[in-house]
Structure formats: C-alpha cells, structure tokens
C-alpha cells in the first residue's frame, strides 16, 4: 500500500486538476465572450454551453493524427511528453494548506523553477522535429521569449525567498504574517507579467499568435498530441497561479473560512485576472516584448532584490519601511514610464 500510495495521490491530483482545467476552458470561453459583447458558447449541454470543453476534448480525441513525412518521428512523438511530464511533477511540490499537501520539499521553489525549463526544451524539440521551417522559427521565437521571461520570474521569487529565509513553499506561507504582496509590490508585478509570458497567454502569445501566425511551434501537431501541449500549458497555469497565491497572497491564510477555501478563492482571483488580461490587453509587439523583459522587468527585479536585502539587513523592523519604499518606487517608476513612453 505504501508503495502504491504516491501513484494514487498523483492520479487523483491529475484528475482533480484536469476537472478544474475543463472549468477554466469554459470560464474562459464565457469571459472572453462577455468582454466582446457576445454570449460565448450557449448550445452545448443546454445550460450556458457548459459541455463545450468536453465536446472540444472529444473532438481532439477523434481527430486524425498526422505525422508529416519529413518529420523526425521519434522526437516528434517524444516532445509532448517532455512538455507534459515535468508539469505533472511540479504538482508534487505545491501545497494547498498546511494540512493538505503532497510533500514538503526543502527546495520546493527552486524545484518548480528548474522543472519549468523543460517547457521551452519541449517546444524546441517539437518545432525542430516537425521538419518545417516555420514551426522551427516559431519554436525559436517561443524559446527566446520564455528564456527572456524566466529570469525576471526567478528573480521576483528571490525577493520572497529573502523575506522568509526558506525555499519550502509551506515555510514561505507560514512566514507571511503580512501578505508578501504588501512587502513586495514590485516583485508581485514582475511575477504577474512574467507569468503571463511564461504561460504564452494572450498579451504575450506572439510566438503562437493564432490569428497571425498559424500556431508557431505546433503547426504540424494535430489531434491529441497538440492537445497534450495545450494541457501542459494549462497545468503550467495551475502551477504558476498556485505559486503566485502561495508566494505573494498569503496562501491559505484568511479569516473565518477554512484554509483550502481561501486558497481557491485567491487562486481563482488570479485566474480571473489572467482571463481578463487576455481579452482586454492588445498583443505586444516583438520589440516591445524584448524591451519589457530585459530592460524593464529584469532591472526592476534586481532593484527589488537590492532594496529588500538592504532594508532587511540594516533596519531592525523592516516591514513598514520596506512596504513604503517599494510602493513609492513602484509609483515613481510607473509615472516615469508613462512620461518616457509618451
């Protein structure tokens, strides 16, 4: 039993996350519909098209699987797994409350960051193996973008790690008497922007821009193999949104309600933010994308680290000065940015 237990837990978690993903898909259809003054799906399953994602999954299952003639068959088949397996592994490191978690890793934060680097490797593998110039170019663009945004993501997390002096996610949440978003507004902002780029979601999805380029690295993928890439992205969304909740929003802390409820309230708050920013912000230009990543997010993440470290070491009760100075700098930076960009 003890030997089989981890497998059962893993299976249960995967199915749980999958059912949430089905809900995400439906909610996203509805939200983007409403924002564009449409209804979104209405017919499938009668009540507000609730069965639309299930129909989509059935469609994926039914679709013919085509491996192009000049593709590298082996790598073409392996690539979706390289994208999918690491994001499942990440689930082992994410706690939901201090009672409900799989394992409390010593290095949970670093574990998640390290495994997320498989995402762009899988894209490069898929893009190259397709034997198509455009998919390879799409893979390169996607990989270049993920590379640029992985750094600010890691550095934004470093600020939180410094505040709580541990890499364990449970430890980080337990240290948060004040939510880290108050102490680390710059870090939070950087994290939220870099997260959307990491997930290849709409303001930052120019590598797979479905309306302009056909689909970037996944041009040649069809049916369930394509769905696996998508599934990997949704699992990544799950992981990164949970990370945002745990690192910056105090995880399961909150009054009255039990911890697990608070966790999911915050989690769905982040999800709503992602869904709204997807439909309400226009896609950034490639040059803006690179400038944002390297010239704004990366330096601000470094500034965040420097401020945090200095105040923690030099000021005995650093919470209030840290929050105030970060906030002031954030406002000043946003104001200056508006002036400069105008």
């Amino acid at each position: 039993m003890a030997i089989a237990l981890p497998f059962l837990i893993a299976l249960a978690l995967v199915i749980f996350v999958l059912s949430n993903i089905v809900f995400f898909m439906w909610a996203e259809f509805k939200i983007s519909g409403r924002v564009a003054d449409r209804f979104g799906p209405m017919e499938t399953g009668r009540w507000h098209g609730w069965a639309q994602p299930l129909a989509d999954i059935l469609k994926f299952l039914n679709k013919e699987d085509i491996i192009p003639a000049n593709a590298d068959k082996l790598i073409f088949r392996v690539a979706p797994f390289v994208g999918f397996i690491p994001v499942v592994m990440v689930l082992a490191a994410i706690p939901y409350t201090n009672k409900i978690f799989v394992r409390d890793f010593d290095i949970a934060v670093f574990f998640v960051i390290a495994l997320s680097s498989f995402t762009f490797v899988s894209m490069v593998m898929g893009g190259w193996a397709s034997g198509n110039k455009y998919s390879l170019l799409g893979a390169f663009r996607a990989a270049g973008m993920l590379l640029s945004y992985e750094l600010p993501l890691g550095l934004a997390i470093a600020g939180v790690v410094m505040l709580s002096a541990t890499l364990s996610l449970i430890g980080i949440v337990q240290q948060q008497t004040v939510w880290n978003i108050v102490l680390q507004p710059i870090g939070f902002l950087v994290f939220m922007v870099a997260m959307q780029a990491e997930l290849q979601r709409s303001p930052f999805d120019l590598a797979v821009a479905e309306s302009e380029l056909v689909a970037g690295y996944s041009v040649e993928y069809s049916g369930m193999r394509y769905a696996m890439f998508q599934l990997g992205e949704f699992f990544g969304l799950w992981a990164l949104a949970s990370m945002a909740v745990l690192l910056f929003l105090g995880g399961w802390h909150g009054p009255y309600l039990p911890g697990i409820v608070w966790f999911f309230i915050k989690f769905y708050g982040i999800f709503l933010f992602l869904a709204f920013s997807r439909v309400s912000v226009p896609r950034v230009r490639p040059d803006q994308l690179m400038d944002l990543g390297w010239k704004i997010l990366l330096p601000s993440a470094l500034v965040n680290i420097v401020i945090t470290a200095t105040l923690i070491v030099l000021v005995p009760h650093y919470q209030v000065p840290l929050a105030v100075s970060e906030f002031v700098i954030l406002i000043a930076a946003l104001y200056l940015m508006r002036r400069v960009l105008k």
Binding site: I75, F111, L115, S117, V121, V124, L167
Partner: protein, 168 residues
C-alpha cells in the same frame, strides 16, 4: 536488493547508454536531445546522493539552458552532415585509436581505483541537503571563488557578445 541500489543501477544504465549514444550516433540533433536525458538522469543521481539543490541546479542549467544554447548554435552552423546522418561522416578516421586510448584509460583507472579503500564516513551518506547550510558554507568560507565566478561569467558574456556579433 535495496531500492536505492536498484535506482542506482537503473540510472547508471540510462546515463551510460545515453552517453554512448551521444558519442556514437550519426544524428547530431538526437545527440543533443539525448544529452538532455542524460543530464536529467545525472540530476537524479545527485538526488540519490541527497543533494536536492544540486539536482535542481543540474536540471536548470544543463537540461534547460545548455540544451537550448546547443540547439541554437547547431542551427547556426549549417553542418555538412544533415541531421539525419546523411552526408559527410560525423566521426573522423581515428575511431580505433580513440577506442584504444579510452579503453586504456579506463583499464588504468579501474586498476587504480578498485583496490582503493576510501575513508567513508560512518553511517554515510548523512542526509544534509539543507540549502541554508550550503549557503552558510559558501558565504562563509568560499567568498573569493564566489566573486571570481561572477567575473568569469562576465568575461564569458562579453566574450560571446564580441565573438557572436561580428556579422553586423
């Protein structure tokens, strides 16, 4: 056989056959992706040695960044040998001599190493994967190498920019 020993055998098998594949295959791209697998498995070996942090770092740097960099570099050098191995051979003529050299080296190493008695710590290996402990040691006793590493990285960065930007 204990679980750890079993894991060790499995990992060694994958690592060694992966490495053999890298040095034998005609398909350069397959070699790069096999490199990814081998490096991940080496990370697992670090895990077996109770070094969580180093395992994650191995994945982050070798499996992620280095693989991406090698793929990009490969795409820049339009090699005479096509990725599927057609065209000019990827090996040179000295395969036999190389094999003999390598085998000789291995024989000497095994001859020296096998009878060796190591001063293995009692009850080793101790579970000591704490990141904080590691940080404390680095920032207490290894400050100079730490700062020198930053200069080396800077030198590499500037070097690559100077070397790679010749075209325009």
């Amino acid at each position: 056989m204990s679980g750890q020993l079993l894991a060790f055998w499995a990992l060694s098998f994958v690592i060694l056959s992966g490495a053999l594949y890298i040095v034998m295959t005609k398909n350069i791209m397959h070699a790069v992706f096999m490199h990814l697998l081998t490096m991940s498995m080496i990370a697992a070996v670090y895990g077996l040695l109770h070094a969580d942090f180093m395992a994650a770092m191995q994945v982050l740097i070798y499996a992620g960044a280095v693989t991406a960099m090698v793929v990009f570099a490969l795409m820049l050098t339009k090699s005479q040998s096509r990725p599927d191995g057609a065209g000019i051979a990827v090996d040179n003529q000295q395969r036999g001599a190389s094999f003999l050299t390598a085998a000789g080296f291995l024989a000497v190493v095994i001859y020296v190493l096998v009878p060796q008695k190591w001063a293995v710590h009692e009850a080793a290996p101790v579970v000591k994967s704490d990141v904080a402990a590691m940080g404390a040691i680095i920032f207490k006793s290894y400050i100079l190498p730490f700062e020198v590493i930053s200069v080396i990285l800077l030198a590499a960065l500037i070097g690559v920019i100077v070397l790679a930007r010749k075209e325009d």
